[in-house]
């Protein structure tokens, strides 16, 4: 404990059995709730075609603005109601989860691999190549991403591939600096020197001897990034620069319902709740991983 006057009383209170704090502490020791939410989300995303009550694009004009089932006029046919052209909101949410998670996951993996590789190369070789990579990263960090992405998304014609590419572009630079810094300290270690003396190639040293040393930091950074990717994807889709309609995405669902808030709030509200829950779970999981594996990154 801190041993300071102000915090020792707080510590005593915290040690008291039972009550609110213990609950919070138990929940913070293991990321049960975020883990649970994400597991459900993944299961839903994978098995959507079998789980969803309706096809995502099936529009029934009679079900236009059908209210959620707990309304007097609602029924269990549309549990979360119908949207602006009578498509089932719940089904579209489930298909939307599929799209969001797939796009974010592919972008995250691509961006992570590119960023980590560049960080390894910059840190290991140093010199001119290091200088070039780091200056590009500096420039990249200097750009306001959302506006640039907005412009690029429209040029490349909005599509799922465009979105993945954009989000990957948004991701890679964040890894380079941290990975490079870590590699700089690892490359002078004895075991690396020995590997060099034994005649291991640069690629082998980087992949077999150095990569395992930076994998923690990479995992933590990636997990902290995941939520931002989902948010950015939703935002671009909301602005109409994301995955084009009629594909169900959470961002475009919010945009759809925007003009009909007065008579059908559920069209816009539920996708926002889905985004919030997903991003929150990802962030909590990221925080937890960070505290566990690399507390030095706390400022991130």
């Amino acid at each position: 404990m801190e041993g300071t006057v102000a915090t020792s009383t707080a510590a005593q209170k915290a040690a008291r059995p039972g009550g609110f704090r213990n609950l919070v502490q138990a929940a913070s020791r293991w990321p049960l709730i975020p883990g649970g939410v994400l597991t459900v989300l993944f299961v839903v995303a994978i098995f959507t075609p079998w789980l969803a009550p309706h096809p995502p694009l099936k529009a029934t004009i009679g079900d236009r603005f059908a209210p959620p089932m707990w309304y007097a006029e609602g029924d269990s046919n549309h549990i979360l109601g119908g949207d602006t052209v009578g498509r089932d909101v719940l089904s579209r949410l489930m298909y939307g989860a599929r799209v969001s998670l797939l796009v974010a996951a592919i972008a995250l993996v691509t961006g992570t691999i590119v960023g980590t590789s560049l960080g390894l190369v910059a840190g290991y070789f140093g010199g001119l190549i290091d200088e070039v990579i780091m200056r590009v990263v500096d420039v990249w960090f200097g750009l306001p991403f959302v506006l640039v992405a907005l412009v690029i998304a429209v040029i490349l014609r909005p599509s799922m591939t465009t979105m993945m590419a954009l989000l990957a572009l948004f991701t890679w630079a964040g890894f380079v600096r941290n990975v490079r810094a870590e590699v700089l300290s690892l490359r002078t270690r004895d075991y690396v020197t020995i590997a060099k003396v034994e005649g291991a190639s640069a690629t082998r040293i980087m992949l077999v001897h150095i990569l395992p040393g930076v994998i923690n930091i990479v995992l933590v950074l990636a997990s902290l990034r995941a939520g931002q990717l989902i948010l950015t994807e939703a935002f671009l889709s909301f602005l109409g620069a994301g995955i084009p309609p009629p594909t169900a995405t959470w961002g475009s669902m919010i945009a759809d319902g925007r003009s009909y808030l007065t008579n059908a709030w559920w069209v816009s509200v539920f996708p926002g709740v889905a985004i919030g829950m997903t991003v929150m779970s990802l962030n909590f999981l990221g925080d937890w991983l960070r505290d566990k594996f690399d507390p030095r990154l706390r400022q991130l």
Binding site: A10, P144, V148, F235, I275
Partner: protein
């Protein structure tokens, strides 16, 4: 220190140039500009007008040469014309800049006034209900999409309760019109402030010199505000660049939802209508602000924290 400034200046200029290249190529490749000018569709120009615009924008030359002309015009202060109504962009921008600045300023003040004290209190009463409330508030601000928060705010406070107007800036200084956009814009930065101030306060409060100050019998308020906060206050500064990025993205969201007559909305409208001359200029303004601000922040940081040595 001097070398650091020069170096930092160099990367800033490089970033700005890189940005002009990306933005320019993007805005010219956005759609075939020529097709936009054909009489029947696009912006419906006559043959003569079309020829004039092509010559004026040098669209008959290759993209790198077009870029050269464009950059030269920019340096001379000629921003070009808005394709939708063929008026000069300059005066239009002047009209659009103030609404964005006013909103951003309001948002920044609100975020600082709420976020910093909340972060400090959260650190002081660590583990208390207040701490959890503050952190929950921060978590929500960082996870809920800004555009969605704005829409929900309209739903609750304008549509249901009818307390506040749902859109536009209003005439003069209409405070009521500012309330919802400001809150929507400030929530994300508040969340950032709470997180960063809280964690740096906790770090500082745990340090030796704070323990010494307490052992000496310095009052709690003095320890917190004079000894600890002064040192913890540097952390939000490192965060300021990210904050600004959040503000720019936030402005795009908030101005779109609230039909705010500002720069960010101008950019979104331009993207939706392939109005590439406007897109290039507005994006460049935001980029310029961002790059200059980051430069100033870095220099300021180096001055304020003598422990940092730059080589």
């Amino acid at each position: 220190m001097r070398r650091f400034i020069v170096r930092r200046l160099f990367t800033s200029v490089l970033a700005l140039l890189g940005a002009t290249i990306i933005i320019f190529s993007a805005s010219r490749l956005l759609a075939d500009p020529v097709s936009l000018f054909t009489p029947n569709e696009g912006y419906g120009m006559t043959k003569e007008e079309y020829k004039r615009v092509v010559a004026q924008l040098h669209l008959d030359r290759s993209v790198p040469i077009q870029y050269g002309y464009w950059l030269a015009d920019l340096v001379r202060g000629d921003l070009g014309r808005d394709l939708s109504d063929r008026n000069l962009i300059g005066p239009k921008l002047a009209k659009r800049i103030m609404p964005t600045l006013k909103l951003a300023l309001a948002g920044w003040i609100l975020a600082t006034v709420v976020g910093v004290p909340l972060g400090v209190l959260s650190a002081m009463r660590r583990g208390s209900v207040l701490d959890y409330v503050g952190r929950t508030f921060a978590v929500l601000g960082q996870t809920l999409p800004v555009f969605w928060v704005a829409i929900i705010a309209v739903l609750i406070f304008s549509v249901q309760l009818k307390w506040l107007p749902s859109a536009t800036m209003g005439e003069g200084f209409a405070v009521r019109n500012y309330v919802l956009p400001t809150i929507a814009l400030a929530w994300f930065p508040v969340a950032g402030y709470v997180r960063i101030v809280r964690s740096s306060m906790l770090d500082v409060l745990d340090s030796e010199y704070i323990k010494l100050a307490r052992a000496k019998g310095v009052s709690n308020a003095t320890v917190i505000w004079k000894h600890a906060f002064k040192n913890a206050a540097l952390a939000p500064l490192t965060f300021a660049g990210l904050l600004l990025g959040g503000f720019i993205a936030g402005s795009v969201a908030v101005e779109t939802v609230f039909a705010w007559p500002g720069l960010a909305r101008y950019a979104v409208e331009a993207v939706q209508t392939n109005n590439f001359t406007v897109i290039a200029v507005v994006t460049l303004i935001f980029t310029g602000v961002y790059i200059v601000a980051n430069f100033v922040i870095d220099i300021l940081y180096a001055f304020l924290d003598p422990r940092i040595h730059y080589s």
